[in-house]
Symmetry: C2
Subunit: 219 residues, 2 copies
């Protein structure tokens, strides 16, 4: 087998803008959470479940999509404000785009501000958005080999949410193997297997989010 190695052009000065946004969010006591995954891994469904499970928080959502506003409409139906960002074909959100969206939110200093990044396991991992926490979703149907194929996403994430666990009986997905591969890339990663459909695992996830939101306000 032949292997060709190609190179990625390096991006610039995004990190400085990301740090500025993170500082601003820190001052305002808003934990900005960057949610990343493949298309169809269940980001919007999970967000709807989290909005219901965390009624004591002011929550707003930034929805990044190539073109449609389907997800933002869905989120607003659950009672949280949503700002829809159309990335015009761009496969990720960078810090400047995120800051623009953050400043379009009407709710004053929300406790939790979720950025639903573009559905993609590659580009979003390459750009610091300025979020306080990075969370990735991997759905059971995608397969347990994804840490081998998209390592950067697993390295950059504070938490890995394994979604659609209710479908485990129908796929050959080894939870232990997947967790082991993720921890090999990122020993500190928090792993939450959940099913938004059955509610399984949601309590551990919401407990962690509560503690992260509290820690963010203290510092």
């Amino acid at each position: 087998m032949k292997v060709l190695e190609l190179n990625l052009p390096v991006t610039s000065e995004n990190d400085r803008e990301a740090d500025l946004l993170r500082e601003e969010m820190r001052r305002k006591g808003t934990l900005l959470i960057n949610l990343m995954s493949s298309p169809g891994a269940g980001k919007t469904t999970l967000l709807s479940a989290l909005i219901r499970a965390l009624p004591e928080y002011r929550i707003a959502v930034l929805e990044a999509d190539i073109a449609s506003s389907v997800d933002a409409e869905h989120i607003e139906a659950f009672g949280a404000e949503a700002v829809q960002v159309h990335t015009g074909g761009m496969c990720h959100m960078d810090a400047q785009m995120t800051a623009e969206a953050v400043h379009a939110v009407s709710v004053k200093n929300p406790d939790l501000l979720f950025l639903e990044n573009v559905g993609n396991l590659i580009c979003p991992a390459e750009y610091d958005t300025g979020a306080g926490r990075n969370i990735m979703l991997l759905s059971v149907p995608e397969g347990d080999d994804k840490p081998l194929k998209y390592p950067l996403m697993f390295e950059k994430s504070d938490a890995l949410i394994i979604t659609k666990t209710d479908t485990l009986p129908y796929f050959t997905f080894d939870l232990e193997k997947c967790a082991g591969r993720a921890r090999k890339l990122n020993p500190g990663i928090r792993i939450f297997p959940v099913s938004a459909k059955t509610g399984e695992g949601m309590e551990a996830l919401t407990a962690w989010l509560r503690s992260e939101a509290a820690a963010w306000k203290q510092k």
Copy 2:
């Protein structure tokens, strides 16, 4: 709901290189097929099934991945030559990268040359690779709303293969609705629901591939 519109920087001169590669493939009688999908939609599994189902063809595979060589090893185990391309973080293949990979294939003038593009519904649709046919896979667990969210991919594809149809009972995926949304974007798109696991729908797909390969050699 607020909607922010951002703009994509336009790419250049890739189209000319794509046309040159397509011409070369035409002269050699090799149908280059660009396979695109989300991560985990089943490109490698489908390719393995096609290699088995089309023993009368010389087949080679170009595997594009960020980093790993998992898929190429899998394909070689099925008896077809595989060239692994590591895109170095790049989220798509362009025509120049594809030409480089094509020229690394040892098999002389294969009948079918599959490019398994990077797992991503966005960037690969934006770059003409020089392929004679573009095929996208959408797996049932990803959801039937994907044509609404990633329209360009559906517009650019000659065929849509809906994979993992054996899991239809476990998901709320409406085949008719999905097909209708895809045809609204691309009236001529061919649609093949298949399960590589049970073999359902594979015959219609291989019949179409045979007729496309024959047509490519005639022109």
